[in-house]
Symmetry: C2
Subunit: 232 residues, 2 copies
């Protein structure tokens, strides 16, 4: 016989079991990789892969020379994908519709956004406003400031949304993301076809390519919209 072959996944599973059953209690120092490798009968590389994965998942904290400790508060994460809105609507089983409301080549950027994008006073950007429809019902209002230096001025967004064009064409290196609730004012109520004062979910994103701003967008979803995901 040769080897039963110990997989890093099995080492990970066993280590996780020890953490969860308090065999390795929160805050405790666990044996170092070489010891565990001997115990599991595998190479240290395999143990390393398993523990590294548990550390990424928030169960362990590792430091050179300091060793590996069980996290005091295991951090669980929920992740949202920066999706193409069309895909989101289609995944919900609706027919996608899109309507461009306005597209101004150069508009003054409001002060709060200037700060978020690190722009000088009086900076101008292209401003686009559009609505995404699920069937005939307004689903999401897209209100976007776009860096004109990064997008051909001839590029139209009357058929393909700026959302979709950007996801496909402009790589981003970093960004910020904020979620809030807002009451519909008269304008929003008209554009989303809902009652004034309705509670709406709002997503604000700003994205950059290195230190160069790409876009700042506000997505306001219709009433009743839920953003769902699984916990890893």
């Amino acid at each position: 016989m040769s080897k039963p072959a110990v997989s890093w996944q099995s080492v990970r599973a066993d280590a996780l079991r020890r953490i969860q059953c308090r065999d390795w209690p929160p805050g405790a120092l666990i044996p170092h990789e070489a010891d565990l490798a001997r115990e599991f009968g595998c190479a240290r590389t395999t143990v390393n892969r398993a523990l590294r994965d548990l550390a990424e998942a928030g169960y362990l904290e590792r430091k050179r020379k300091g060793g590996t400790r069980v996290a005091l508060t295991p951090v669980r994460k929920a992740t949202f994908e920066i999706a193409i809105i069309r895909h989101d609507i289609e995944a919900r089983g609706h027919v996608y519709g899109y309507k461009l409301l306005s597209d101004q080549p150069a508009a003054l950027v409001p002060a709060p956004l200037r700060g978020a994008l690190s722009l000088p006073p009086l900076a101008q950007m292209r401003y686009i406003c559009a609505v995404h429809l699920a069937g005939d019902v307004p689903f999401c209002l897209e209100s976007r400031w776009l860096n004109p230096a990064l997008v051909d001025a001839d590029q139209r967004f009357d058929t393909l949304s700026a959302n979709e064009w950007l996801v496909r064409n402009l790589p981003l290196s970093r960004g910020a993301f904020a979620l809030s609730a807002i009451a519909a004012d008269a304008g929003l109520a008209a554009q989303l076809g809902c009652a004034q004062g309705a509670a709406l979910l709002r997503v604000e994103r700003t994205t950059f390519q290195d230190s160069q701003p790409i876009t700042a967008v506000t997505l306001t979803y219709g009433p009743g919209f839920q953003m769902q995901t699984d916990i890893a």
Copy 2:
């Protein structure tokens, strides 16, 4: 001299550069690991680590025998941590306060929740309602159904919130997470000290240990609350 040593991070960076400058355009098949290893002058393992990382980040799609392709729509993700609310409030620079509003050992679970938790009709769970304060201002209302089989009935939540106790004491294996906006009704307005009809951000979570339900919680945040994070 021996070797400059090629790191997997440098391979990753170079591959990412080729993707972003369209040297490897979206949808294209890129060279296989062995070729890249020769080109970069490193072991295949190193290339594997780099490309695996780019695949996890959403830039590449890999299939055995199929090879590695550049993703058509690079998927960027925003991650929220399942935080202890106290930490969230303290990180915002406020003094944390907590008030237990009610704690019923056995209450009928409403039908929609029963479905989400896979519970039988007439199922009962412990029901807890509490408010988290930032200074003197209500910050978040916690309304929670808790599986009594997993928590000692003697466990009080009048000082330490169920939120914090659970994060520290009950490991979860999976869960679901939903975000929505809701208008404050009379009860919410009273408990959060806001106007009736104010738009509030709501988080609903259900968590399980294997197939056993742990808890279902609704967190309703005060008006103006923003949930923020960075895009990876």
